[in-house]
Symmetry: C2
Subunit: 198 residues, 2 copies
Amino acid sequence: MAKELAKARPARRHRGLVVFLTGLSGSGKSTVARGLTDALRESGERTVTLLDGDVVRRELSAGLGYSKADRDLNVRRIGWVAAEIARHRGVAICCPIAPYAAARATAREMALTAGAGFVLVHVATPLEVCEQRDRKGLYARARAGLLTGMTGIDDPYEVPTDADVVLDTTDVSVPEAVEAVLQHLTETGWVELKIPSS
Amino acid sequence: MAKELAKARPARRHRGLVVFLTGLSGSGKSTVARGLTDALRESGERTVTLLDGDVVRRELSAGLGYSKADRDLNVRRIGWVAAEIARHRGVAICCPIAPYAAARATAREMALTAGAGFVLVHVATPLEVCEQRDRKGLYARARAGLLTGMTGIDDPYEVPTDADVVLDTTDVSVPEAVEAVLQHLTETGWVELKIPSS
């Protein structure tokens, strides 16, 4: 029965896929997501939608804040759109902070229900490194008490126990991090990339 | 040049498509949209996402109201998701009231920018008929002054001048209305359906 089911499904590289990057602000999620998007688009093999912070805030979640309820709604909305894209055999790459395990699990479930794959990438760059980078100045403002609800400072981040890939961008370049994800996707059959030898 | 461009593109039935039904509450939009979705799904030729009112309110637009700004945001959000689905060669069928021409034009533009088609269906059932049906009791409440911002009563509906199909469901059965849309899609090459002879 399981065999028949496997037989009836197209190969993974012809099925939809959601790549879901989670991690603290400044961990490198968006940068890796952009690199991954570019690599997959350049390969020409798959159509890709990048649901990064800018797009999501503009097109999907204008008006939502940073309470637990609003964060959960934001992640659910991203996960739902990603799953619909994957239902049509597209690749959706999303990179919300997504601090709560239950909301991430819902996103995974929605993708699987749509007949697609779901790959959870935990960008596990430590808080100290993220805070040192502080590209948006958010950590400084949170430490100064000018900003509340900052994940890692006064708001929780539930570390994933179900990540398919764990990346720490402390000492890893962006292309190396992107390649690590691509390698996982290739090894698990989701993409078939000829990675150029450098 | 135009010829080369046309040549470079896949046939319409292999490209994404947004079918956008607009009309008053009670006009029959959702019913036709559901019938169309079922017919396309049964044909097995295309993958289809139906963005009907329930799904949209639950997954995309929770918290939005009925002001012009919120209606425009709702239609933009639906149009954006529909265009992303169509970017991956899927078919998105949506049926918001969408009373404002500019918001509908934006939805069309987003679909075309994504390389997809856009078919505007105006479900032009007259207000009198919609009000007589009044399936949700909204017209009665609006007439009684218990509900404000009801399209057609105290809120505007800008009649489309750019509809690809115009349907009036007053004297037409649901299967007939669905067939009219399917016929347009078939004639214009967006789908290739063997419509069963009855």
